[in-house]
C-alpha cells in the first residue's frame, strides 16, 4: 500500500510542478495544433482520408516526444534526481509517477487536438480513440524510461527521438490500423500487447537505469 501512496505523492508532485511552470503543456498543445495546420498544406488536393490518419499519428508521436523531452527536467535542476533515488521508496514508483503525469499531459493536449482533427480532416470513431489511448500509454511508458536514459548523457535532446522512434513504429501501425482497417480489433490487440510487454519491461528496468549498484 505504501507503494501506491508513493506513486500518488510522486504523480501529484509532477502535476503540481507542471501546473506551476506551465511550459510543457502549452508547448505540446501549440505544437500539435500547428502541425495539423501544416498538414492541411502538406496534403495535396484529392488525397484520401487514410493519409490524414497517418499524419495524425506522426503528429501524436512528435507531440509526445516534445513532452517527454521535458519530462525529467524538473529532476535535473538542483540535482533532485539524486534526492529521489536516495529515498527508501521503490525506484519504479518514480517511473510510474512520471509516466502517469506525462500521459495526463498528452491526453490533455489530445482533448483539444483530436476534435480539431475530426473537424478538419477525417472522422474518428470510438475504436480509433481507444487506439489513441492505448498507444498513448505505450509511448509514455517507454518514453519515460528512454528519457531517463538519455538525460544522463550528452546531446539528450537529439538522443531521445533516436531511441524512441523505432520503438514507436508498432504503435503507429496499431494506431493507423485501428482507424482505417475493416478489422480494427486485431490492431487494438497489437497495441494492448505492446503496452503489456513494454510497460512491464520499463517498470522493471527503471531501477537499473537510474542506479549504479
Amino acid at each position: 500500500m505504501t507503494y501506491l501512496a508513493d506513486v500518488a505523492a510522486l504523480t501529484r508532485k509532477d502535476l503540481r510542478v507542471e501546473l506551476r511552470a506551465q511550459d510543457t503543456l502549452p508547448a505540446m498543445l501549440l505544437f500539435v495544433l500547428s502541425t495539423l495546420v501544416v498538414f492541411h498544406f502538406a496534403l495535396p488536393e484529392g488525397t484520401g482520408e487514410d493519409a490524414a490518419y497517418g499524419l495524425l499519428w506522426v503528429a501524436i508521436v512528435f507531440t509526445a516526444l516534445l513532452g517527454l523531452a521535458r519530462a525529467w527536467v524538473p529532476e535535473q535542476e538542483h540535482g533532485v534526481f539524486d534526492g529521489l533515488v536516495l529515498a527508501p521508496c521503490d525506484r519504479s514508483a518514480i517511473w510510474v509517477g512520471k509516466t502517469v503525469a506525462t500521459l495526463a499531459f498528452l491526453l490533455a493536449a489530445q482533448v483539444v487536438a483530436l476534435p480539431a482533427f475530426a473537424l478538419f480532416f477525417a472522422p474518428l470513431d470510438a475504436v480509433a480513440l481507444v487506439g489513441v489511448l492505448l498507444a498513448d500509454i505505450g509511448i509514455c511508458a517507454v518514453g519515460s524510461l528512454m528519457a531517463a536514459m538519455a538525460a544522463a548523457g550528452r546531446a539528450r535532446e537529439l538522443l531521445l527521438p533516436l531511441l524512441l522512434l523505432p520503438l514507436s513504429i508498432p504503435l503507429i501501425v496499431g494506431g493507423v490500423g485501428s482507424a482505417i482497417s475493416t478489422e480494427p480489433e486485431r490492431y487494438l490487440l497489437l497495441l494492448a500487447l505492446y503496452d503489456g510487454i513494454f510497460a512491464v519491461l520499463s517498470w522493471a528496468s527503471f531501477e537499473y537505469v537510474v542506479t549504479e549498484s
Binding site: T2, V17, P74, H78, G79, L86, S213
Partner: protein
Amino acid sequence: MIRAAGLEKRYGSRRVLRGIDFELPRDGFLLVTGSNGSGKTTLLRVIAGLAAPTRGKVQVDVHRGRVGFLAHEPLVYRALTALENLDLFGRLYRVPERRERIGMLLERFGLWEVRSERVEDYSRGMSQRLALCRALLHDPELLILDEPYASLDEHGAGLLDRELDELAGARTLVVSTHDPARIELLATQRLVLA
C-alpha cells in the same frame, strides 16, 4: 557502521579514488579533507550509494532510508515551496508526525517565514538551509554532508555549527570540507585525500 576496503572509482580512464581504506564505527565522526578535485564528493557519493565503486568494496550497515545526504546542490524542486518539498520527501521517507517535524525543522533553520515561497525565489544560502532540513527530516542514523559550509551564509553556518555540536557523538557523521579548522575538534577520525 561503514567499512571501505581498497575502494577505487574511475570515470572512464580517469581514476578519481584509489586505494581508500577506512572503518568508521557507529556514532563516529569522519572528516574528509583534500584539495579541490581530490575526490571528496565522489567518495561521499559512493558511501551514500549513489555511485558504485569500480574496484573494492564499501559496506554501509544502515538502510538507505536511514541515511541523510547533503550535496552541493540542494536536491529540492525549484518550482515547489519549502513546505511542498519537505512534505513530499517526508512521505517518501515515511517520517512519523510529518507536519510537526517539518514545522520544527523550518523554524530551527530560520525558514518558517518563507515556507510557502517557491525555492526558485530563495537565495543560495536559503536553499542550502532547506537542503539541510531535507537531509535531517527523517532523523537519519548516518549523515553524509558534502562541503556543507561551502554555500551557507554566516547565519546558516552558525545554525550548522549548533546542529553538528548536537549530532556529534549521537549520530554517525561523514563530512567533507576543504576548510577543516571549523569542525576539526568534533571529528573522531580524519581521512585526507590526495
